[in-house]
């Protein structure tokens, strides 16, 4: 895994230049200037936009401000999806910076989860980590960790501390030498066109004959419609970092056919 550290760092430090604009119908006391920010791909909107909130609240009256939410071209953005995933799903074919509209009223209850505090984000993040480990290690590794290790994972993400995060995460990315990989690969396939938010199924890293599975095998198995002659040349933006490292899959797709096992070793 150490020889992949460059890739790990590239993924961790990926950024999307974003322009935040206040929704025109919000009531302001002065004109609201747009706010520019580099968003970390691996983080969550509500975790990294305190400055955005402060900036716009400065020109608004207290009573006009309730829970913040974000929208892109009319689509409410799900804060519980990683930022990189949101961008890939909705705006990857448009020019940078990514233009996001900021709202403080009329929270879309039917579309978005509430996010009243950082605790909600932490609970969501940890739930994803735990579910991923249920697939990789039958939850043995995550359950053996102490609460302070869980906390360190979260703080690493929250404070953008690569080393702090990976000191713990590397344990979640190991498997015993006698096994050739995780029990199942934690993955989710998102498509902007479906009502179903994502496809998630049990998928082993090793085929019955002992060969390592590839991304192509995975797609053929769980999402064959994504593999069409026209689509084969398209860039792959398939996985949500349910576990941070699954993000590597899209980076390594061009490097090797055995990347699924590589993703497991990242």
């Amino acid at each position: 895994m150490t020889d992949d550290k460059d890739v790990l760092r590239d993924v961790w430090f990926g950024r999307i230049p974003t322009c935040f604009t206040l929704y025109q119908d919000e009531v302001t006391e002065r004109e609201a200037e747009p706010y520019y920010l580099l968003l970390p791909r691996i983080s969550y909107l509500t975790l990294v936009t305190d400055k955005v909130k402060k900036h716009f609240q400065k020109v608004m009256r207290q009573e006009e401000v309730s829970e913040i939410w974000f929208e892109y071209e009319g689509t409410p953005l799900k804060w519980h999806y990683p930022i990189g995933l949101l961008f890939d799903l909705h705006a990857s074919n448009t020019a940078l910076p990514w233009s996001i509209t900021v709202h403080f009223k009329n929270f879309p209850e039917k579309d978005l989860l509430h996010c009243h505090s950082k605790d909600v984000i932490e609970a969501h993040f940890m739930a994803c980590i735990k579910e991923a480990d249920a697939l990789k290690h039958k939850s043995q590794v995550i359950n053996e960790m102490q609460k302070k290790d869980h906390k360190q994972l979260w703080m690493g993400l929250q404070n953008d501390k690569f080393e702090q995060f990976w000191a713990i995460n590397r344990k979640l990315m190991e498997y015993p030498p006698e096994d050739s990989g995780f029990r199942y690969i934690p993955f989710r396939i998102y498509q902007a066109t479906t009502e179903r938010p994502f496809i998630q199924k049990l998928f082993r890293p090793i085929a019955s004959g002992g060969e390592l599975h590839t991304l192509g095998d995975l797609l053929k198995d769980v999402c064959p419609s994504a593999i069409t002659p026209e689509a084969s040349g398209a860039r792959l933006q398939t996985t949500e970092p349910q576990h941070i490292c699954a993000a590597e899959v899209s980076v390594k797709a061009t490097r090797s056919t055995n990347f699924l096992s590589d993703a497991g070793s990242l």
Partner: protein, 263 residues
């Protein structure tokens, strides 16, 4: 009969088996008119159990819900008899609220257990907040919930519909399920996993299974009519003064034997 946690075989629920239990559960639900149905997703053919019901509750305004926790475990917001108002509350107003509940049971392939999703809204469409949901949790479970609310009920995206729902966390399901199922197998009784599981976790979030889900005879395929005639009048399990008991009919085994578990 005691149920020890250690040494019990972990019962793994495969998705196919989950669907079979659901089918059986639906048949029973139809027989007794309990309103459950199966919904299949259009794209991948997976599906889930679904039920809606309306809950009527009387609310004092302003409500002081903490007081009621010390009383018996009667569901605090579902009283049909008004408690007497003391002088300080005499000025309060009583309002009847109707809440529309929607319950879904989905299968989690990650945890290999069923998961209970639900959402609730007032008739005007206003959804209940997570806070209001936590407060309406059955008084008996409040202690468990207070230890770690983030481990039990949270808001999540429905994996098939993509909309916000509340979820009862599945991490601990296997612990209590395994112990009961392995003892039932020793006695050669057929237990419907869904009935067992739902009758245990459902009451936490206001979902009660009528006692008639219980099978009175080990062989339930034949003579369903005679079983019907013998059954006890269905009643809401949650209305009793004790902790809601599992509605699957093993008379000598109740929730006290299962111990107190974090869901």
């Amino acid at each position: 009969m005691s149920c020890s946690m250690a040494g019990e075989e972990d019962f793994v629920l495969e998705e196919k088996r989950f669907k079979q239990y659901c089918e059986e559960f639906i048949k029973r639900s139809q027989q007794i008119g309990d309103g459950w149905e199966w919904r299949t997703s259009k794209d991948l053919g997976d599906g889930y159990l679904s039920k809606t019901h309306y809950q009527v509750r009387n609310r004092k305004i302003p409500p002081d819900l903490k007081e009621k926790n010390h009383d018996n475990c009667e569901q605090m917001l579902c009283t049909h008899v008004e408690e007497s108002l003391d002088d300080s509350q005499a000025a309060g107003v009583c309002a009847t609220e109707v809440i529309h509940y929607e319950y879904h049971v989905l299968y989690s392939s990650s945890y290999r257990v069923p998961v209970l999703y639900f959402r609730a809204c007032f008739l005007d469409g206003r959804p209940l907040t997570l806070d209001e949901i936590w407060k309406s949790v059955h008084a008996c479970y409040q202690a468990c919930l207070l230890e770690g609310p983030w481990d039990t009920i949270t808001q999540q995206e429905h994996p098939i519909l993509g909309q916000p729902f509340f979820v009862l966390h599945p991490c601990r399901t296997n612990e209590f399920i395994s112990s009961v199922l392995s003892s039932s197998r020793k006695h050669d009784r057929h237990i419907n996993y869904i009935t067992l599981w739902l009758s245990t976790v459902g009451p936490v979030v206001g979902l009660n299974l009528p006692m008639s889900y219980a099978k009175l005879a080990p062989e339930q395929d034949t003579n369903d009519d005679s079983v019907e005639r013998q059954r006890v009048e269905p009643h809401e399990a949650g209305r009793s003064a004790q902790a809601p008991s599992s509605a699957f009919g093993l008379g000598h085994l109740n929730t006290a034997d299962l111990g107190v578990h974090k869901f």
